[in-house]
Symmetry: D2
Subunit: 308 residues, 4 copies
């Protein structure tokens, strides 16, 4: 079956799925999203865009943004970032403080909340939070080639008002001198970055540089070096789905990063940049139908990184 | 540079390395191994074998054997194994009991000791330990096509006499009903499997079926299905180097499994099956020079699974 | 109200209690005990014995025996015991291995299972398990002045057949060299000591030496020094009720040691040695009605150690 | 020997002690204190005050203040406090977040930092931080009968500027809805309460109500009920010395509360209220010479709560 037919089939089946997982409800703006949504967009290496379902409906990308913020932070301070953040799967929940205590304020990887907050601190640097937020937004627009990507200020403001756990993580790392700038400012950057709104098409476009060994498809110029692109994908594969990362690697076999908004960005090196979205989450906090769609897609296309 | 030249260069540099890590010394038979050893063997998809250094000196493969025992156990009971063992990186040391307590006797993955002991329990089944040990040995000989692979009974016996931590893990899982057969028998199987002695050439040959999507190169017949081969490699990538798995994926980018004897088996899907050996370990318990050699090899050949 | 009247009232109310907790059922011999039982015996400093309810019905004293085994072990090797066992409340469940891992095989205190197993190893010494078990039984008979105290061999044998968690703890400590004798032998001693059967009267009599600053009431001679008696009571107060120890100190205010058979031995220094028994346990694993009876008794008599 | 002679001897020996522990240095105002200081004051039941060494030199009482703040909070909301704070020893360090995660934001007891911050939140109530701080200071002055007790604003301000770990704890509990008022305000109250400066004489006087079953010696009126006084002392005995509480109960045998300023308040029910101070801390964070002095004093006077 060709890719278009496969997408059509997956989308049709998703429409009838009974078990759709549970929509995140820790803030009203997320809790109110209709669980019926399902969207998918695939950009292949030749630039073709395949779409299914709600591929053009915007959603809150949440933790998927950690891929872009990490890329930006690495651009700012390079590999010295890894003195402050690890590259190991955490083995515990996304917002756990237990590991931070044992490892003296060094988060296990840049995709758990604590690690992403350190990344926000790096992106903040000596700037005002507003400038840093602007930098991230501009970068994501540049990657997707779409100026209509925006930050949902209602989501950002809800996150900020309820984000005590993240404030705890930030203060905790500050007590180990692993936050260099204003804790409140870094949190502000973090909450706004999580509130970026994109649709599947935009998200799949934004992921093209990873599929292409670091190069931007429009210019052919390196967004990051090939080595860095591969390392970011390695982190996505080992740490991209919280404490369900091993299972995603096991079942799907391609690097991906999920968010509690129900989005997942998945990359098949040299072949495809894929974005799926369905708001209901499985018990690990990853999109339930999104994970299933990717497993089916990978199986049908042989798109595992472990395929000869 | 061609592969032969690269191997020559890596081997020559390894010979002069000053920091060689620390040889495991918890049993005398391992502690007495000369840290000067370094061997490498690469079997490429066409069947060519490239060797360097001590590629034909036998060593104790230790935890590398977990790949073969897992394959055998999956052959026996199929995917039901995953009711008793997880597929997530552990985030803690290879012999930790902390995770087992929190997760009620279900080991996080089949490559930490607790998980491998459950695998041994499956391989044991209703048989005598001697038979199960024979099954594993025959399977490894079959995979490598070399009948001279053997079990070092001195190592096995040392492990058995000092393996109280593993006995603790087994009894602990037994208390959660996650050991179905005699605890002592399963441990016996486990200790003997870890004591398999192979050289790099044999080990690289034994890994060919993973490189070839599950097929044995000599017969073209499936040892395991393609899906299973990919899943085993996914586990190797996310969990194959204890709590240094993330870093190995990050730096080397190919699935690998290490052992405290200093061996590592690494697979480049469709391209190569690689075995390296150097007895000195880094602080995560993985071969120090072996890891470095693989990082260099992968960089020079672009053999990352994340390469387009 | 006098003590006799108070006991009568407490016993009568216990007979009508609706919520009686949950009888331990991990072995059949315990699970089959009638939850309707309630017994209490108080020996005051002048030697008078006050009884209520099933004061003369035997039950499995289980962990209450840890007080006697500890006393015996201290008699054998003195304060050097504290190099192998701590004196701190554990902050976790009675059979947890987490703390053992963090503290390298040194149990937090002698009243959690791991600590009691080290104590058994000390009592075992170079003897045969049978001899050590005999030593403990003779010691308890001597303290209570009653030769009819016995070991319930059915209970001992059930514990031995299902005690995998304790076997895990013992092997784990052995791996840290904190078991000096045969692991199986020490466990045998431990399981038999837990299977001692006594009634409340015998148990209260056995506790007299603690009430009397270490002296045996019949001879006036020291069973232990005054300092040691006080230290044992300090351990009972801080660690005697698993992770409900703080609450027992808070509510009752006297040193006590509970067992999953539903017994509690509590000591009011210089005033009383008290044994209560009711098989139903609260969620911390301590006798539900027993704890309540002691709280009421302590309140009515002002028998807290914190009373001026 | 009489008490005066004993105090003289203890003070003289303390003057010559070589190992004095390590002065807390996380803020300059504490780090600069001369480790040579040693003071002791004992108020006996008849009101006599015995002093030794630097009994009249002020120091930062730090966590000793938690006893007074707890008493005040219980006065405000009564036993409902225990819905928000436990009464169990923590089994981990004073500022650990691990336990908070496992127990969903309910601190183990009111004497670890997290618990004391909840207590501060209660004392704060709907007031301004300044008013709540005034309430605590007035209460301590009332208990000691000395209006010269003061808050060292330099210490308070240092604590506030470096207290990121405590801010993490507070935000963390806020995320579990276990902080009812402004997090910043509650922290302000907490930091000021810890900065109360007293000398040993004042501190021993402030502890009299606990020695006297809750009554203020000057008026004979109840500061708290007898039951509450005993419960506070039970908490001091089981939780008053961080993760060295068990050892203090074991060696000294009386309820005490220590602070990182090197002070300890210890109560012998009906007999004495004792304050010692020596700035050097042992590895558990409790005054090294202070603990030793109390052990010696308790041994010489038989002042254990476990003495008949």
């Amino acid at each position: 079956m060709d890719l278009a037919g496969l997408i059509e089939e997956i989308t049709a089946d998703a429409a009838h799925a009974v078990d759709r997982g549970k929509v995140a409800d820790y803030i009203p703006s997320l809790g109110g999203v209709d669980p019926k949504h399902f969207g998918i967009a695939i950009v292949t290496a030749d630039g073709t865009v395949h779409k299914g379902g709600d591929a053009d409906v915007s959603f809150s990308i949440q933790s998927v943004s950690k891929v872009f913020a990490l890329t930006l932070a690495l651009g700012k301070i390079g590999e010295t970032l890894w003195r402050r953040v690890g590259v190991e799967p955490s083995g515990s929940a996304f917002n756990s403080v237990v590991q931070l205590e044992a490892e003296k304020g060094i988060p296990r990887n840049p995709f758990i909340n604590a690690g992403a907050i350190v990344v926000s601190d790096v992106v903040l640097g000596g700037s005002e939070p507003r400038e840093a937020i602007g930098d991230i937004l501009r970068f994501v627009r540049f990657l997707s080639g779409d100026e209509s990507v925006f930050i949902d200020s209602e989501v950002a403001s809800s996150e900020e008002q309820t984000g005590f756990r993240n404030a705890a993580l930030a203060n905790y790392m500050r007590s180990f001198n692993n936050m260099e700038h204003d804790v409140g400012g870094a949190l502000r950057v973090y909450f706004h970055q999580c509130a970026i709104a994109m649709n599947c098409t935009q998200l799949a476009l934004a992921g093209r540089f990873l599929m292409l060994d670091g190069r931007h498809p429009d210019t052919g110029r390196a967004v990051v070096s090939a080595v860095r692109a591969r390392r970011i994908m390695a982190l996505m594969l080992t740490c991209g789905h919280y404490d369900g990362s091993g299972e995603f690697a096991f079942r799907v076999g391609i690097p991906g990063k999920s968010g509690v908004g129900g989005g997942i960005l998945a990359i098949v090196p040299g072949k495809a940049s894929i974005a799926v979205w369905s708001p209901g989450l499985n018990k690990r906090g990853n999109s339930h139908l999104g994970s299933e769609a990717l497993e089916r897609l990978a199986a049908a296309t042989n798109w595992s990184v472990f395929t000869p």
